[in-house]
Symmetry: C2
Subunit: 347 residues, 2 copies
């Protein structure tokens, strides 16, 4: 057993507080990672507070993990001690179903083992996430991280990065394409950077005029304040693809109107409520509204390699563990540019 | 001028009644068609009654037209007198914009001239539809109809046929694919026949248990009563594509749950109200909700040729003009298997 320090929520209303846990010693296919940094994702907050259904407490959140391999099982060939490694939103899956075989383990038909607040394949052993000093994970579900990168800025790529990279890639983002990004937060700022790095012209839709300068700095060419309907009519039929990162209820119609014929708007944010949709906003111009959920291990590795090559990293604010609860409040208020990352040395 | 007899609505509340109109003598690129049959589409009813916004009366509906060419302009090479011809939902467009150039004239950015209740490219001359003995149309917008087919059953292909053929084709319907069809009416029964003719296994979703035998006869392998939620859970993750023909508000979530990962549900019916959509029903399984609007001239010709080759025609009830108002009432109540077609000799 490996003794690890962590931060956990003990109930839906309690603040996160120091917590001791034991990670398993490596099985033949496991690697043990000493965590360096872990990002704070909005999902962490929803889960820690039981907002997405009942959570099994204690809950150690965190699925944007980077660190160093300090131990490997005897069958592990993919990693050796001293390698840098990343862990994202899931740590195991059945490996046998059709989605697993087609490298979309996040849709495993039998049991996708989420990094925290989930159970291992045995259906009993609970999983604890990256707000911790250590984690033990099966090698196939661990990502390789290149040396020489700003690791604290790499951590958020494991969720915010792959969540936006996957639909951008799937729907053909490249030079000559026009991509819209709705919302400039943790996911949105990554969508802007990635779409720009893929060669697209990027347009940011935002409610906050004060984000304009930042949008441009991150790589956007155009910035539209969503409160003015004229901004939408000026953009009618212009965009190939929209990545919608907003996680509050909103009307899709104005955004859909800015798509070209056959264009696609992809939802990656999860509003708790239903939104209204008029069929005509899809039928006129035969448009598509799609959803996308993180990405498989193979694609996550491809994304990490792309980001290393293109020097695309998250904009972050590094915090010690004791500031996690404060960071949650600021994340909810949108007061972060653009991701909090916890320094694991402070657990 | 060509004197034509027709049926027209004179106001949103008046029944359709006999009406005289003049069709233009052929311009150099025009053909004059003596109409044999015209289908009754639900859009006709919405427009005749001003339910989709104000209608400019008198209104002669009808955009599912087949007949014989009786006169051609001197530049016409595509048709000669005696040829069979079809006219669908539009009769002209700018021909210069990007959608027109990519054979999607229905999305013309300048002026798609609809077959009725629209204006010609001059912005003034009104268009009158197929509830009539004759129509004059520019040759490029007229479809070729092969000889030897049951023409009265070909007429509905010009709208109901292309509306369902286009998305079935676009999203790869073929042998080995599983296609769902929601609603078994004018559009739905064509979707079943076409998907089956393309080689797919077809599943019909319907509220009416009494349509089961018919669904099987039309080519469906499976029939699901939508009132029982178990029918949806048994079908979770099974379908590649769904064509949703329902034009009343309904919840998309149960249908989306029956799609495979990456699957597509296409809306071709137009509910007057918004429907509710939960983002999670798209994000889980990265699914797509799309819209589709009829099809361009090139694709409509492809569809007519496909239907002639595969012997796919509409199931119809042939009526004389004097029964149009009664047919409207029965169409609204769903009391038709599956399309009313007017015999143009009775005008």
């Amino acid at each position: 057993m490996i003794k690890a320090k962590a931060y956990a929520a003990q109930s839906s209303t309690s603040p996160l507080a120091p917590f001791q846990l034991e990670r398993r010693s490596p099985n033949p296919n496991d690697v043990v990672i000493q965590i360096a940094y872990c990002g704070i994702c909005h999902s962490d907050i929803h889960t820690a507070r039981g907002e997405w259904g009942p959570t099994d407490y204690p809950c150690v959140p965190g699925h944007e993990i980077v660190g160093k391999v300090i131990q490997v099982g005897k069958k592990v060939k993919k990693f050796k001690v001293g390698d840098l490694a990343g862990v994202g939103c899931f740590v195991d899956s059945c490996g046998k179903c059709s989605p697993c075989k087609s490298h979309e383990e996040q849709f495993c038909e039998n049991h996708a083992v989420y990094t925290y607040a989930s159970t291992e394949l045995d259906g009993k052993t609970r999983t604890f996430g990256g707000y911790s000093t250590h984690i033990t994970v099966k090698d196939k579900y661990v990502l390789k991280v290149k040396k020489g990168l700003p690791l604290e800025r790499v951590a958020p790529l494991l969720c915010a990065g792959i969540t936006t990279y996957s639909p951008l890639k799937r729907y053909g983002t490249k030079k000559g394409k026009k991509v819209g990004v709705v919302g400039l937060g943790g996911l949105g700022h990554m969508a802007v950077k990635l779409a720009k790095a893929m060669g697209a012209e990027v347009t940011v839709f935002s409610t906050s005029p004060d984000k304009q300068a930042d949008a441009k700095r991150l790589g956007a060419k155009n910035f539209l304040i969503t409160k003015d309907p004229k901004n939408f009519s000026n953009y009618a039929g212009k965009l190939d693809l929209i990545i919608d990162t907003v996680s509050a209820e909103h009307d899709f119609a104005p955004y859909l109107s800015t798509l070209k014929i056959g264009g696609i708007m992809v939802l990656v944010g999860v509003p708790p409520e239903s939104s209204k949709l008029r069929s005509t906003s899809l039928i006129g111009g035969r448009k598509h509204l799609a959803g996308s959920l993180i990405g498989g291990i193979k694609e996550t590795q491809e994304m990490l390699d792309f980001c290393a090559r293109k020097k695309v990293f998250s904009d972050i604010e590094l915090i010690p563990a004791e500031k996690i609860n404060e960071a949650y409040e600021r994340t909810i208020k949108g007061q972060v540019k653009y991701r909090f990352v916890i320094d694991a040395e402070t657990f």
